[in-house]
Amino acid sequence: MLVRLSYRRILLLLLAVVPLCRIVAQSDSVSHWALGGYVKNLQNWAFADQPNTLINGGFFHNRLILKWTPGSEWTLDLEVRNRLFYGEWVRYQPGWAEALDADGGLADLSFVPVRRPALIGSVVSDRLWAQWQHGRWSIRAGRQRINWAVALTWNPNDWFNAWNFLDFDYEERPGADALRVQYQMGGFSALDVAVSPAQTFKKWIGAARLSGNFRQYDWQVQAGMYRNKAVAGLGWAGNLGNAGFKGEVSVFQPLDKAEGNMSLSATTSVDITFGSWFVNGGLLVNTLGSGGDIDILALNRSSLAPDNLMPGKLSFLAGGSHAFTPLFNTSLTAVYSPNGHLVIVLPSTAYSVAENWDIDLTGQLFWLKNEQGVLKNALNWVFLRTRWSF
């Protein structure tokens, strides 16, 4: 039986571990703390034609990153995400505080100290790990990001901590409570083995990845268990002429026949640069997706499953970005799902105001086929974000 860790238990554990590490570290002269992070404000407006609505809101977002290197072999990392949500959008989403409080991991590192009708304060730690590294070996335990992704937008190989590409403000992306062992085999080859336990065995994730480089192609093969499904994957990142060519394929086979049939999640993309223009195009195949109407709310989930990254069976993506100056960048991306005729348009512009100050304006515009079979604007989001990094 696994014990679910609470914030208080984690704190007690840290208090016990830190002096221990100090003793370990005494023999080594390299020991330092590093504190960094940022403070952001994100102001947002959601509006729709039918019903005619405008909902505003926003949140302050502070991230604290505390890294401790007690010696050349040890690293400890604690990262905390503090957010204060305010405005109408809080009022119109009952149950949001409870959803934020529900930590999906093995340890409960979510805490919601402020719960008011139009104000929610959330504290969550999405990284809390210790790493030991020696020669070719590296072992990391705790809440961490196990990023096995090589493709740019969708990541079917990201089994441990899938991410919703519309959640653009979550730059760091979620972590998983896991134990990971890496072994560098020499050259560019490496073997990764990771296991992410859960309250019930059916929710465990465990997998191995072998990666390498052959003729300027990065490749990886993966196999394991994903929540009671056997899973195998393949990923690559290389070049087609001057263009980048990347892809990921994962096949999921439920062990329990009642849970359905084998499913495929696969993506490929091509990206190329012309002067200061960057252009990319790609597609995602998701056999678990809907072949008919698409539930737009499914896109709203903060995290997704690697075997169900988009609501439709097929999604195409085309995008471009242009740097007018090193400080001023704009981009435009469009996603189209033929099933249900979902269209998403994502315009964005970013400006570096000063050394540690950034500002950006991002839009997320959705169109869906209505009952008459006509593509109609369904929902629009506009986000204005300012950021100070330290």
């Binding site: 560098q184 020499g186 070049n239 980048g244 060519f245 200061s276 740097a323 570096s352």
Partner: protein, 267 residues
């Protein structure tokens, strides 16, 4: 230090692409006919300056400042280099980019984004893009051309630069060399083999960039210019400045140091 700017590997080489390639054919004929002792001497002068500036390996901490008429931005970088094949760059500042790393292995480049623990392989077409908003391109990081082997050298004479008597050397790229310049002129001190000035011309003979080395000091056990200024000839108010804060030479670095796995762990 000087010759580190004239065209090898990861050296923030100032050998920026003017967007054109290959020397005209008539140069080929000319170059093959110039094989004099004088040329060999010029080549040796460049080689000596290059060896002095480069070492077998180097570990450097530097501040790169991009100057524009209306703004400036600085970044601090730590760079590990081995020959022309291997390099690893780690950004220490600004805060937003701290921990971002670049790995160069032969012709391939990877980018590490620590916040999302993500390695991204850069496609060849991205090489012509600005590197982290500076005047350098990604291509400057991976260029494997050699100031010694990829050019024909000739001694134009001697000239004073910063009160030091310098050899003035003309370098014309060999026809098969993957070099974007039509011509480079170097000023290398006679006494100390330091490159204090370099002028980069395109193949039509227009001056594109001027690089000036200054603040000559003992660093990493060698006498080198610790400040490099690169100024584009036709862009008023534009400049890129590199200041070396620390430099170590010839400390052994294993090839296995330059892997994508290690890039994620470097501190």
């Amino acid at each position: 230090m000087g010759t580190r700017n004239a065209g090898k590997g990861f050296h923030f080489s100032f050998v920026r692409s003017p967007g054109k390639c290959l020397a005209p054919v008539w140069l080929m004929a000319l170059l093959f006919s110039v094989a004099t002792t004088q040329a060999q001497n010029a080549r040796e002068i460049v080689r000596k300056a290059e060896d002095n500036a480069r070492g077998k390996t180097s570990i450097a901490t530097m501040v790169i400042t991009t100057v524009r008429p209306k703004w400036t931005r600085s970044m601090e970088i730590r760079a590990w280099m081995k020959g022309t094949d291997y390099a690893l760059l780690l950004v220490n500042a600004p805060a937003k980019d701290k921990g971002v790393a670049f790995l160069k292995r032969k012709k391939e480049v990877w980018n590490w984004l620590p916040s999302l623990e993500r390695t991204i392989k850069l496609p060849p077409s991205m090489m012509s893009q600005s590197w982290m908003g500076t005047d350098f391109t990604n291509d400057d990081l991976v260029k494997e051309s050699s100031v010694v082997d990829d050019y024909e050298h000739s001694l134009l004479g001697t000239e004073k630069q910063d009160d030091s008597l310098c050899y003035k050397i003309q370098m014309i790229p060999k026809p098969e060399a993957a070099v974007v310049w039509g011509k480079i002129i170097l000023w290398i001190t006679q006494q100390t083999s330091l490159q204090l000035r370099a002028e980069f011309y395109d193949e039509t003979g227009d001056l594109i960039n001027v690089m000036v080395g200054s603040q000559v000091k003992k660093i990493g056990g060698r006498l080198l210019p610790t400040r490099l200024e690169m100024t584009p000839a036709d862009k008023k108010g534009h400049q890129t400045v590199i200041e070396y804060k620390n430099l170590e030479f010839d400390k052994p670095i294993a090839d296995s140091f330059f892997t994508t796995e290690n890039m994620t762990k470097i501190k």
